[in-house]
Symmetry: C2
Subunit: 366 residues, 2 copies
């Protein structure tokens, strides 16, 4: 029943909806690999269970899991979470998962990008990444939905859209030579336009300092609603993040969206700089072909890496003096949503946060 | 969403429908293990593709596959077959899969029997069988359907039902000490009644000669419609099958179904005795903990091991002089169905046939 479609979403009238549009479900992957997740993945698994449980209050969650962790995941997760086998190399559903697109009739399809583990053989985070690259096709097969194969190396975390033709990304990531060195900026823009139905791309220069993903937008800045964005900020001019946030702010203030509107920009102060402890680093396996996470390394903490569920915001918390301010600010920005703060350091230790481990499936035809 | 239910189908008003009642889909598992399937499974995989393709003409087919065979199965199967990861130890979906039950409103649930690879540690066909035993839970999770866990070692191939309270099985199989040695015949009957909503069990003595399953009913005899059964037969009194078929015939002729009706019994002549060739046996891996299939061994060929799809009969064929008679007889017995004969020796070499590798999912609420 599901088929590979050889046209493009744009040509067929399919667009990527904004994250705040109604969801049918949320997809996640179960954390397991002991070179990413300390202590055999057990602390991260408990954190993912909490994320899944909280999102389940607002929408159906499906957890994809390698066969050898099926029973453990099923036992740790609440009954309302659907657990399916979905072989993977790591747990970053935002980045390796399908990007769903919809048309005006409510039909649903998926875009299957090329995944190269954030850098291919030049700078991959781990090797191999073959199972991650098959995740979109398998998700769509389970749901009996058609699939577009996009000829672009891309991760879901490197884009945010307003659902009305505007996309934000960073030059640091999408123009990085480790992804599509043979493509020009114009060709990359054409692919984003063809596969997500985008008319206007707002390029910010760089992402968050020390972000392992070459500066994914989803840790720096996101749409809150049409014409409104939130971004991570610091008042500390000595922090290397200051310059990055300041230049992004300037770019946003001078940008126009696809409808020609200027953007309203909200700053959310970042947590104080955090580093990996000696004890945390010692819990990690050392693997030659995987990214090394040494003690003392700065963690790319940001409140922007939240997930928008149906009526809920699942927000990273760090036991930091800025946690409460972030919660309050998000509650203002999303007056119709319940803001749920979750202590998520264990996810951050693996190199991402709540947005990086989730992928919304838009509501299709009722 | 899917839950483990702690009552019984009978108590909740759920029954196992007859195979000819409308299906939503058919489930299969992909053959792979080189000690069951010769030449690395390649000939069997082609045979399974043919079965899936033919059933797809009548209803949706889902193929469950181990992760390491996903890409190969996806490439070999036609696009209309849904391929999902479903780890397994071997490909006998009839025996390890869930048995679906329905209620009068069209709600669908699944029964999850205990699977012990046709004999447990005393006479298993292979070791281990842990993945097979998880297949029902995983199928139901994919479909978001509730599950009953039945406290009975049982395979789907050891029962046939008429959907109106009658079940046929063999004493050889269901009373075999390798399955439920601690249960009496009465206790086994109670479990079948509780989990399938059965009022009358017709016990036949033995199954087909040299059937590896301790005489599964689905190779010997099946319901064709209410009050009517078909059974495998031979006119050769020197064949060890003669006595088995004759005693089954006598038992059937004196039986009454749950409604008190006598049965109309149709004999279908078996194919001539077949044995595994030297070349075929040499294509198998030898594994100490798995059943050995030597050259010269009699194969338990039977035309009864067909699958009833929506409007179609998928019937084993053996390039035998009795093939045409079986096709003709089935066409008479199923005047509303199209009879599709499939040369299925490769499946038989693994120890079963078309019914053994399929599992119908009844149509639920429209």
């Amino acid at each position: 029943m599901p088929s590979l479609i050889h046209s493009t979403p744009e040509a067929d009238g399919f667009r990527m909806p904004a994250e705040w549009e109604a969801h049918a479900a949320c997809w996640m992957l179960w954390p397991q690999r002991p070179d990413t997740w300390r202590n055999g993945g057990k602390p991260a698994q408990r954190a993912f269970v909490e994320v899944a449980q909280q999102i389940s209050r607002f929408e159906q969650v499906t957890m994809g899991v390698n066969g050898d962790q099926y029973e453990n995941a099923r036992a740790m997760l609440p009954a309302e979470v659907r657990v399916v086998e979905l072989s993977n190399n790591d747990a970053w559903m935002r980045d390796c998962g399908t990007t769903f697109v919809v048309n005006d009739k409510g039909d649903l399809r998926g875009v299957d990008w090329i995944f190269n583990a954030w850098g291919g053989l030049k700078k991959m985070m781990y090797f191999p990444w073959d199972k991650d690259d098959l995740v979109p096709a398998k998700m769509l097969e389970i749901e009996s939905l058609d699939r577009y194969k996009a000829p672009l190396v891309m991760e879901g975390g490197s884009i945010h859209v307003d659902g009305q033709g505007t996309l934000i990304t960073t030059e640091q990531c999408l123009l990085h030579p480790n992804r599509n060195p043979e493509l020009t900026r114009g060709e990359i823009e054409k692919h984003l336009s063809d596969y997500l139905k985008i008319e206007k791309i707002i390029w910010l220069p760089r992402g968050v300092y020390e972000d392992e993903t070459d500066g994914h937008i989803d840790n720096l800045c996101c749409f809150v609603r049409r014409g409104v964005v939130a971004m991570t900020w610091t008042e500390d001019k000595a922090d290397p993040q200051y310059e990055r946030s300041a230049e992004a702010y300037d770019a946003l203030m001078s940008a126009r969206d696809a409808r020609g509107r200027p953007l309203e920009v909200h700053k959310i102060h970042q947590p104080d700089p955090m580093t990996m402890t000696q004890e945390e680093a010692e819990g990690l396996d050392v693997v030659d072909t995987a990214f090394l996470r040494p003690a003392g390394e700065r963690l790319a903490g940001s409140y922007i890496n939240f997930y928008i569920a149906n009526g809920g915001i699942i927000l990273p918390q760090f036991n930091d003096r800025h946690d409460e301010g972030a919660r309050r600010k998000l509650a203002e920005l999303f007056p119709q949503h319940k803001v749920v703060g979750l202590y998520s350091r264990e996810i951050l230790l693996g190199g991402g946060n709540i947005h990086c481990i989730t992928q919304q499936q838009p509501a299709g035809r009722a």
